[in-house]
Symmetry: C2
């Protein structure tokens, strides 16, 4: 397998964690997002959205969208499971991950911030957009897990929810979001980062980190 990614991409980071938890190897290939390499002619056939990640299987099939890739890995390599057994809990884990992927990350990623710059906004306004998106989004996520047992988002082992949370917490710090009112998320993140599968997937550990 080949994983196309970028060290600071939240979506690629999620997939790196999943591969590590499943003890699967994928050769990493890099597309530098700030140089626009994710829109190059050789890459678009793999990911027509012009985004990372793309996971290319041994037969050449290219899979896109991090949460879909992770569910593929979970279905084809069930141990350790990244979704609970009960349909209600599975729905809650997926909803948490989607709350981050759709309403936080997709609204504050590099592409959107560049669109705001193209509309004439200065750095302060663009940074505030990202900050506010993350702060509001994570505040809702804190509520979503407040009644769930820890130490992870949904219980005693990491799930798809934690794979979405950890990269978003990295982004939260980049944009100086105050996380003190989110003790449950901080505890889940800490439980994750104590695991080598998460720690070694961190942006600063990647070969393309700058």
């Amino acid at each position: 397998m080949h994983l196309y990614g970028y060290y600071r991409s939240s979506a690629a980071y999620r997939v790196r964690i999943a591969l590590n938890l499943k003890r699967l190897h994928a050769t990493q290939l890099f597309r530098h997002l700030q140089k626009g390499e994710q829109r190059s002619a050789d890459y678009l056939p793999l990911n027509p959205q012009g985004l990372v990640p793309a996971l290319v299987l041994a037969d050449g099939t290219a899979l896109t969208q991090s949460l879909a890739i992770i569910e593929y890995l979970d279905e084809t390599h069930p141990e350790p499971p990244l979704l609970p057994a009960s349909p209600v809990q599975r729905a809650k884990v997926r909803a948490f991950a989607q709350a981050i992927a759709c309403e936080i990350h997709a609204v504050q990623n590099l592409k959107i911030l560049n669109r705001l710059r193209a509309l004439g906004h200065d750095n302060a306004t663009v940074t505030a957009w990202a900050h506010d998106t993350i702060a509001e989004g994570l505040a809702a996520c804190e509520v979503l897990v407040s009644a769930e047992p820890g130490p992870f988002c949904f219980g005693a082992s990491p799930s798809l929810a934690d794979l979405a949370l950890v990269p978003q917490m990295f982004n939260a710090r980049r944009f100086k979001v105050d996380l003190t009112a989110m003790p449950r998320l901080l505890a889940a993140e800490a439980a994750c980062m104590a695991m080598p599968a998460f720690a070694s997937a961190a942006p600063e550990q990647q070969p393309d980190a700058e």
Copy 2:
């Protein structure tokens, strides 16, 4: 079951289609998004994100995020299936749905457009933002299904991908996106709209339509 929605919400529309396809009944309750009713004190406990939809089960459990709700319905009421059997095809269907939910809908929904207005942008700029997001996003979606058999997005029966597509095509027309270069998406939409489960879920058919 109770479904909290809004007639023009793409996400609620997806869930209405799923309920219809599964022949499940949910009492509809409405939160008027332009009046901010999705952020009322009685609703936030059901959906801490302050978004529709929320599906409240008979035991009071509230599920959020449309794609997670639809997978819950698919897992608990497997017929007709909304995901294919093979892991690769499941990943492709999920990726298509997420491409719409995350990178199109989440970036052009009412909340984001209101944020742009709050930054001082006029109607033309805000409308162009929505138009361009949808046009670029659906162009990628057209490629994602170009090699798949029809008439639906992924084969002979509707899937999660079609449930995401149809509401987004409705939005595309609202923002006057030129769909002529997307014949595969138009064909899938037409196949869907010929089914009462889709047609009766349309915004203009809802009791809260204005």
